[in-house]
Symmetry: D2
Subunit: 313 residues, 4 copies
């Protein structure tokens, strides 16, 4: 087994002043020629993320961003279905990412303040996962965004004292993909009863697929002229590539930790030169794209109109 | 039992040249002092619907528009929950109305052509139901609309010949309610496998409700700090008003026809002066409002920006 | 339209002393040459039900028993799938019929006392529906029964006074069909949260079907080597016979009342001689069979062993 | 950290001649004073399992059998609910364990032959899991069993040649718990579309719980007079003990491997003397009990009657 030098940089769980420090760490590691895996968001601004992409290119190393939901076998299967044409021409994408852990005025966290976590909260934190997912599954970039943000609480109570909130608790978004397909996304961290409900539906001219992170071992396949299907995560029914992401027999649920594990496995296979297929994990380019979409959404909300996503690279 | 004079005007199922004729019938019936029940859409333009509202007011008669989905007992229950504060302050509304009966290029119907069915198809035909529902359940009017329409087929084949299509197959919409609550709605008649999936979620500061027309006898109630609930249509658990809409014991499903039946019952109770509560059926005012929302959506798509909904009355 | 003479005899909702009176009515009506529709149970004992069958045969009239759940379109579809071999050789049947309306000690009703409602309660009242359903769908009679009855309350409180209970609140049953297929059935009127959950699964050598009365517009179809299917009640996807039982478009739910309506329609078509296919409603023979199964279940519980079902006719 | 000597003996995945060898290994390890974790089934006969229990007692070591489904947090929660009286007096238990991996005549495996895997297949392999689960959750032993076995194929094809099958493909069972509660269980390895569907419902006088291994992060709680509940695996809503089994936030699914992991963690905590609560993993006593239930089921099928389960220890 080839020895490789990899840096794992966990930024997402700290935030604040630390983010800058972490960026510095990543720059150093890239400079040292290490392959780097970063938590998401890659950075708080697209100029920073663009810089990291360039540094990685210059260093000739592999990079990954932990958009972990790609790592579920049925997400891989959905992507394969789209890319082999099983859905036909794409017509519409839609879904939501809903949580409730910030529902109450007394729910606080380092993420709620823009000076620590950046100008966007709900979109950057969870909406970006959905945007990565829809781009991964369809193979198409988001080119335009319309977003209306909302805030459930103008103030939250931290240690008995009010904190002014300047980040969004959620958003209603309309997007357009590079092929012209339109889509909609609802993001919320204040939807009572929804714990981590990331749901995506892709509707095509011959079939549709629908996937829900809270029941990740089932892929719904919609048909017009025959019964709809429920594809359980059954290795024997998956594409060769998706099957590699399924570790237990049919009916034995893969869980949340299996996603990142699969992406790490895939990353290590690539840095070792043992991978026979293009990477399925998100790279720094993807992480940069996610940052760009978030920025476009904020700008759209501010200007009440469509904003083109400029990737710049 | 008091004898009443009621005209039932079924416009929705004919369309085309007939719609004008039906409008004339309604004008005549109103002029003759009859109470009128109309299919939806009430009219194709808001100036016509405004006129009908004025005629009905002048005639002093009762009116109804068949927004039949209000007639399910759990829709009534959802409205009661909102109005008695069980959800707390409203934060977000979202949902979709998805069908697949117009998925294929060869799917044609009088509704596909604007000269027969009006300038809007998917929004006017099904989106208007959802908009009525969200306004009914929240008790708040839609004040602003952003809409991006899409068309799956620029041409459809009728009798082997191509027909140019100028109405939308669906739309991604963002709305704002009069209280400032934002919402999102996805409308589509080309989503494979979705037959008549009208789904609405209302998220409040203390709880959320979610209802799906395809499983109409269950109301999901989301909570932050305790288990979510599934309220089955059980007369013993419903509000007094919603209970009147439930005809069979718990576990015995109410079906599609029970909705219109309930609305007709309610309408007749009102025209006979036997009703003790405000009407729950949609009136011509509501039908007019629905037409106004559709017009605003078309204008929003054309101008790529928010459009205020002007009700005019 | 041919004029026919039909007697509708509603026994099920009265019980007690009335049941004898109703039997007398049925005898008179049969004697008068009328076609008869009876509520279920047809009678309290198999000797009585056998007599009614003979009277009807002698009178040359048509009979029906209101096993209403046959009337759902997807129950018809399940039967058609079995009969056209879509499931292959049958291997196993299983399911349950669960309610909770008699959960509490204070829940009373005429049905709880054997002198009014017969020696069996839960099996006779709801288990008999399931047994009719499994025989209808598979086309095979139940030939052997093992049953273990249970009682949640030895006494119940009626008007503040204890009533000794001598009928079962539920049962665990094992059955055998004439083709040798085994099955299991759980019956309960004391299962908290289950309102009218009648669920049946039929497992065959090539596929399985599963149907739940509380979500009657969906038929689950299980496969070994391809994704499972969910057949929504979509007229365009049903067999010709099942389609005739579906009154609304796909996605527009049929409800509880549509079942009896379909059976009455079918019955009238038969008495008028307008039916082109064998009847799908239960006849007095089927009603008699249901009574025989109930009696066998009671005998099995008393003797702690298998009991053959003797139909006698 | 205290150093402990533990032997992990994986028998379940080998079978055949190996099982005897593994038993010998376990005897040796016990003799050497090691704590032992064994795959299930513990042994093929109850005399062997009784012997292992005695050896372990004599050695004064801790033992565990990998009844892994106990390791899901919501199984722990269900047990806690029962033991703290949240369900009231128990009235009925029921459920099934269904798979389809042995549906076809050509499906073969070392488990299909009794000389390798023992006289029972479906009951020993999967029914025993359900029986352990129901005993764990209710805290009551199974005292009586009625079982009717069935076989889908009298012969199966291995390498193109027929193999005579003498083990069951499934069974319909009725059980009685020590408190007198009755229950039913359907076991099958030939139910098309069911991959690993282990489902258990426990019905009590005040509430019911229902859990399905294929959607293990949701516990259904049934109520008579208020809406049913769906308890998602949310650490903040679980009992202290169940919470220790949940590793990810609400909405982030625990998967199949988390169950055994939790049981191993618990086992090690016990052998290190660091555990503050009674063990929740299955011990050799439990493993022995499972073997006794399987033997009773076979005897019941052979004698067509109830068989008392004699645990002997």
């Amino acid at each position: 087994m080839k020895r490789v030098r990899v840096a794992i940089v966990g930024s997402g769980f700290m935030g604040g002043a630390h983010l800058d420090a972490l960026r510095r760490v990543e720059r150093v590691e890239l400079g040292a020629g290490k392959h780097v895996v970063s938590e998401k968001p890659l950075t708080l601004t697209s100029s920073e993320s663009a810089e990291l992409v360039r540094l990685a290119r210059d260093a000739g190393v592999m990079t990954a961003v932990n958009f972990n939901y790609r790592g579920y076998p049925l997400v891989q299967e959905a992507r394969d279905m789209v890319s082999r044409g099983a859905l036909g021409r794409l017509l519409l994408v839609h879904g939501h990412y809903l949580q409730d852990w910030l529902l109450k005025e007394t729910d606080v966290n380092w993420r709620i303040e823009s000076r620590l976590a950046g100008a966007s909260r709900a979109i950057a934190d969870i909406g970006s996962h959905w945007c990565d997912l829809v781009q991964f599954v369809t193979g198409q970039r988001i080119t335009r965004v319309f977003a209306k943000l909302f805030r459930a609480h103008e103030e939250r109570m931290r240690d008995g004292r009010p904190v002014r909130i300047d980040t969004e608790d959620g958003a209603c978004m309309v997007i357009e993909l590079e092929g012209g397909v339109v889509g909609s996304l609802t993001v919320s961290q204040v939807s009572a009863g929804r714990k981590n409900r990331q749901w995506l539906e892709v509707d095509g001219a011959t079939a549709a697929v629908s996937w829900d992170q809270e029941e990740p071992n089932e892929l719904w396949i919609g048909h017009r002229d025959r019964p709809n299907e429920s594809l359980l995560k059954d290795p024997s029914m998956l594409s060769e590539r998706a099957r590699a992401f399924a570790h237990y027999p049919a009916g034995h649920p893969e869980g949340y930790p299996d996603g990142p594990r699969n992406l790490f496995d895939s990353f290590y296979a690539h840095v070792r030169g043992e991978a026979s297929r293009p990477p399925v994990f998100a790279t720094f380019e993807d992480g940069h794209r996610a940052v760009c979409v978030v920025e476009a959404a904020l700008r759209s909300d501010a200007t009440s109109g469509w904003v083109n996503v400029e990737y710049g690279l």
